[in-house]
Symmetry: C2
């Protein structure tokens, strides 16, 4: 009676979850998802995500480009599983007694660490909600940290979305700056001072008073620790969540009455 054609994940992703029966006929497979993903990650690690082409990955394995299509229907499935491999199973030393705030903070730092170590994951376009095993496990761990907050399930999900989005965004920007600095050759941490100087030449102080003040303050010239920048935003977000959590836990029994 049920609709016959249910919606499925791509075959390769289902295989990563361990479901999907093995094919029984035909020649033995010369490669495996794991080996291909590992090779692709190696290429990305060495030469960036742009260098990850089907031919390049295949060459790394001594195989032909087209052979990879026996393991992944399209390149973006490979990319999704590369990201999954990089995040790995969550290693979050957190106990329920530590409280949600410590949990979310460590969760954020944990994901940030992966992104910092493998900046190319940030270049993989997001194409939907998480479906790969490790990433879903990270999601699970994040939700677990929120179990005693009194938030609704929908709110918990929104909180995870908020924090993970923040981490991704901050990591993207900070690695962009680092890359640009390196690309500009010359000295290391000189991109922001240059940016300040460029803006100064372009903007009219009367039309851009606030920005002019920012530049004048010299903050573009002191090289900012990316960790401090990250901490600042994270603490703001956690403060904001805390406001809501307090509200929820204090009115747990008696709802707000004017």
């Amino acid at each position: 009676m049920d609709d016959e054609h249910e919606i499925h994940l791509p075959e390769s992703i289902e295989q990563a979850w361990g479901v999907r029966e093995r094919p029984r006929k035909g020649p033995k497979r010369g490669l495996s998802q794991e080996r291909i993903i590992a090779a692709a990650v190696q290429v990305a690690e060495r030469d960036g995500l742009a260098a990850v082409s089907m031919s390049r990955v295949a060459a790394e394995l001594g195989a032909s480009a087209m052979s990879l299509y026996r393991y992944f229907a399209a390149k973006d499935e490979l990319l999704a599983l590369m990201a999954d491999a990089v995040y790995g199973p969550p290693s979050l030393d957190w106990n329920r007694e530590d409280g949600w705030r410590a949990g979310m903070s460590r969760w954020a730092w944990g994901t940030l660490r992966s992104m910092r170590r493998h900046p190319w994951v940030l270049r993989i376009p997001i194409s939907g909600p998480p479906t790969t095993p490790n990433v879903v496990l990270w999601l699970e761990r994040g939700l677990q940290c929120l179990q005693d907050t009194g938030l609704t399930e929908a709110e918990k999900m929104s909180v995870i979305l908020l924090v993970s989005g923040y981490v991704r965004n901050d990591a993207t920007i900070s690695t962009d700056i680092a890359t640009a600095s390196r690309a500009a050759g010359g000295s290391e941490q000189e991109i922001m001072p240059v940016y300040g100087r460029i803006l100064t030449k372009l903007i009219d102080p009367y039309r851009f008073p606030a920005l002019t003040a920012v530049i004048a303050s010299g903050i573009f010239n002191v090289d900012d620790d990316p960790d401090d920048e990250f901490t600042f935003g994270l603490e703001r977000i956690l403060d904001g969540i805390e406001v809501l959590v307090r509200e929820r836990t204090s009115t747990a029994v008696a709802p707000t009455v004017p």
Copy 2:
């Protein structure tokens, strides 16, 4: 005495700012930055960012692909100016008396509106700090909203980064979902229920208790207003900023003493 070779923005970006003297010799130009950008935007509007190739844009103008390189040294300069065109000059009805929170909120909604209307801008990879006229003007307006908060210039900058990152991230996710829904053919707002069903089949309730609870709550089945989702995160962030602002304004004269 100064180092001769200062660092410059790409020529096309400088032209967008109105600096840069016009070339005086040679034939008249048949095209202009504005017309090319407009044509490129039109293509993106109609067929998405992936359809924006140099040939396609040139074809739209009845010109050859290579002619565009007389106006932009590389494609990413064109992309940056397409984004600039989409954001446009900020139209923010806000006065100083309205307070920073109303200002940042309207600022966030204003940028969100542009992204929602032109989802393809989100597919343009960020390649550094903002340098195009309109985007820098948006930055200026955001900073202006924070002028009475007592925050340091560095903190103001971080706040802008935080909020703009949030907007971008939320817009990306919500348009992704919308696109996926449309791509899945069939019914409109059915992607999240499907996602819930897929996860249910994949995850073990004992390993994924928190996620199982989320799914069981049924929030994937009610179609959520994207505006509500956005508002939730934004209010959390503004709450978090407010905590800091209060701290700063209450200790404006006497700094914190233990």
